[in-house]
Each structure stands twice: as C-alpha cells, then as structure tokens.
Symmetry: C2
C-alpha cells in the first residue's frame, strides 16, 4: 500500500466545484472515476482545497492510497488519458503514508483576475471578472497591506460557513496591472468559505473608491460580513498552487505557478 | 446609407472559421444573423481575414452598409447582446463608403503560441499548441530574420491555395519566451493560406534542431511546400489585429493588441 499525491490543474467552468455531490459533475468525482478505472481499485481521493463551482486551479492537491504496482510518477500521464481535457494531472508522486492534504502546514496561493477593458476579451472571459473602468491600483495595494497578518476574517467569510475559528494568516496580498488586466494574488495558510472572492470584491470596491484602504481595519474589527465588499464571481478565481512546509525537501515540487 | 466597420474578437474553438458555409457555424454567419436582427435589414458583412476553423482573433475587421439611424459607435454593444459570449465586437465606427477591408493597405499581426510544459495547462489549452520540451529561442529568432522582407512564400503556403501571386512582405518575426510559453509574433501586409501556421511549424522545427536557421533562404528559394516544416495546429493561432495605413488618422484605432 502506498500513498500517492496528485497535483491537479483544471478549468472549473464546466464543473460543480471540487467536492463530490449527488447528480453533479465535479473534479473530485471525475478523478475518483478515472483512478478507479485505471487502477482497478475503488479509489476515493482526499483533496486539499474544495474549490467552488466555476473556480479554477493550476495546482490543487489530491491524495489516495493504492496497491497498484504502477510507478507513482507514471500515474499522471495514465490518468490524464481517462480525464476530460479541462482536468489535467500535472504530476504524481509517492508521499508518506501519514500525509493528509488538509492537515499539514501549507501556503496556498490564489490569483483573482479582473479585466477592466471596455469590451470583454473572449480568450480571458472564462478566467476573469469583467469590470470596465480604471482601478486605483495603489489604493488596492494599501488595502491589501491591512489584510496581511493574522486576523479574524469573519467579515470576509460567507455567512453560510461553519468553520469553528475564523482566524487565518495572510502572508501577502499583491496587486498588479498588466494593461487591462488587474491581478490580485493572495497567499495564506488557509482560507474561509468565499474568503478570496470577498477579498477581491472588497479590493475592487477600494479600486473604484467605494471603500477606503483605511477602512479595512474597521471592517476586520467589525466581524460582520456586511461591512466588506461584494463576493467577486467564481470564474475570476484561480488557485495557483499549494506548498507544504514540513514535507522535507519536497515543498517546492508540490507547487505550480506560485 | 453609411458604411460601418466592426472590430471583432472571437474564440474560434467552436466555429468552422470566419467564412459563411452551408450547414456550418461560422463567425461571419453569426455576425450576419445578429446584425440582420438588430438593424432589421438584410446585412452581409465583408471580412478582412477569413480565418480558418479553430483560429482566434482579438481584432478582425468586418464592414457593412446600413440605413439604420443607430449611431455607429453604439452598434457594438447592441450587437454583442445578440452574439454568443465567444464572439465579442470590440468597437464599431463609421468609415468612408469606399473602404474595403481586403483592398486597403494594412499591417496584419498574428501570434502563434506554443506551450512547452510537460503537461498541458487547462487555461491555455484552447489557445496554444502543446509541444513538451525546450526550444532554442535564439535559433528561432535567427530563422525569423531570414523570413522578413519581400519574398515568394510558395514554400510556406498550403498547396490548396489558388492565390495568383505568392509574393508577400513580412515586416517582422518576433520570438519570445515567458516561462513555458513561446510566442511567435508575425507582422505582414498579407498572408497566404496557412502561411502563419507553416511559419510557426517551421520555427518549431528550428527550435528542436530539425531545420537550421540558415536553411530558411533555401526553403524560400525552392518554392516547394515540402521543404518547410509542419503546419502548426489552428488552435495556437490568434490574429492580434489589423492596422489600415492610409485611413487618415484612424489607423491606430482599428488595431487591437498589435
């Protein structure tokens, strides 16, 4: 018996998110089915991030146990042949039998993309939120500074969340502009339900002057979802990757694009 | 009666190319139908570049005549409401009644994208050719230099072409790398059937060492399609835009992303 880790990239447009649900097409469901067929064992993966419907990833992590003699690193190509073209395993490797992708210390990186051109760009439409008009990038950066560090992020969490603690640590918030594209890159040790999308929506409000950067500390202190900005749409969000910190020497390898 | 120019962007994945064909879904067909509905006149557009099935554009040009009182610049938004999300008119403007998009001097810019990572990237797969492995960018640039200028491009033209003259002028060939993405940008006054895709396939052969940059002059002189490299797949090709040279003062406005 060995434990295999997969780095999984996907275009989330056509899926009802990561997590298996009855009567819905999900990333996890597709992986379970393809691996079960390939390895002729009943496989159920454990995912690191249960991304929402429409959210994309360049490097989500899934693990499963198998008795198969297929070398770990060859599973990626073999399983890709049984997956649709919008779910692509980037890499497969053996990990320790006690490794659990949601219980180990890690840095997760998400990128939220806003397209600010007048008319939507058909090659970016699936991966961006279209908001026409100039954004104040400097103000957005200052707001991002107020979000970094350890905070209670209740104001940046969907009300439906049942997470026990709303305290998380954000390591960095970067805001960059590349012509009509504004990129918000957020690194943290974990995120609450809809947290990155609420951060993106709040920074958008800062960018159009509806929230001031200096309001962010009060929004955090208020611990009330209604104080923050809108929840930005799922399609603009891409998980770039996950780095596991204590997996000796392997951390960098787990990560895509971060 | 006035003549309207449209700058049209599209993701060509789901279409049988630009040109209207019986029983096929085409960009031109979609535009004709949407404009005919919107303006309540029988509209047939004239396109600048009749791009192949699967080829994308950020700024193809189409013109048509109309009696409609709708201001020219408002047609873009109005027609977008009647077009699918993968065809987006970027701009509409009135032009002179004698302007013909295939008979005026212009600079057309195309970009061919090769993704060289080991596993395909789901967000780039629709817009890139996946070829795993390192490419010799410097050699590709040197080969591109040999292609610039006025040449008989018979060796870089699909045999099926019935163009009378195979002489065209290429103004520049740029090759850039951005991590696993290799971009080939070609500017010219016009291109033969499949010409940019054969240039891209030939530069790929140069990048993997199968053709030497110094072979390019002989390939041109040979005037034989079999001397050049493969025809790169359509999905990696995006027309970036068209600049019309003699349309006084308007040239820059016609262009997207060039």
């Amino acid at each position: 018996m060995k434990r295999i880790m997969l780095i999984v990239a996907y275009d989330g447009t056509n899926y009802s998110g990561w997590q298996v649900q009855p009567c819905a097409d999900t990333i996890e469901g597709r992986l379970n089915r393809a691996l079960t067929e390939l390895l002729r064992e009943n496989i159920t993966v454990i995912g690191a991030s249960r991304t929402d419907a429409g959210v994309h990833s360049m490097g989500n992590v899934a693990v499963f146990d198998t008795e198969s003699p297929i070398p770990a690193e060859r599973i990626a190509l073999a399983v890709n042949a049984r997956l649709p073209g919008d779910i692509i395993v980037q890499k497969s490797l053996e990990v320790g039998g006690d490794f659990h992708p949601r219980k180990c210390d890690c840095v997760k990186t998400y990128e939220y993309r806003i397209f600010t051109g007048r008319m939507e760009n058909p090659q970016l439409a699936r991966y961006t939120w279209h908001r026409y008009g100039t954004l104040d990038i400097e103000a957005m950066r200052r707001a991002g500074q107020f979000l970094t560090g350890e905070h209670d992020f209740t104001s940046f969490c969907a009300v439906a969340s049942d997470a026990e603690s709303k305290v998380r640590t954000i390591y960095s918030v970067e805001v960059e502009r590349d012509r009509d594209l504004v990129l918000i890159r957020v690194r943290g040790n974990g995120f609450l339900y809809n947290m990155v999308r609420i951060i993106a929506g709040t920074l958008l409000f800062v960018g159009i002057g509806r929230i001031k950067p200096e309001d962010i500390p009060h929004i955090l202190e208020g611990r009330d979802r209604r104080l923050a900005g809108t929840t930005a749409p799922a399609k603009g969000l891409t998980q770039l990757g996950i780095i596991y910190i204590n997996e000796t020497g392997k951390g960098a390898e787990f990560c895509q694009g971060t």
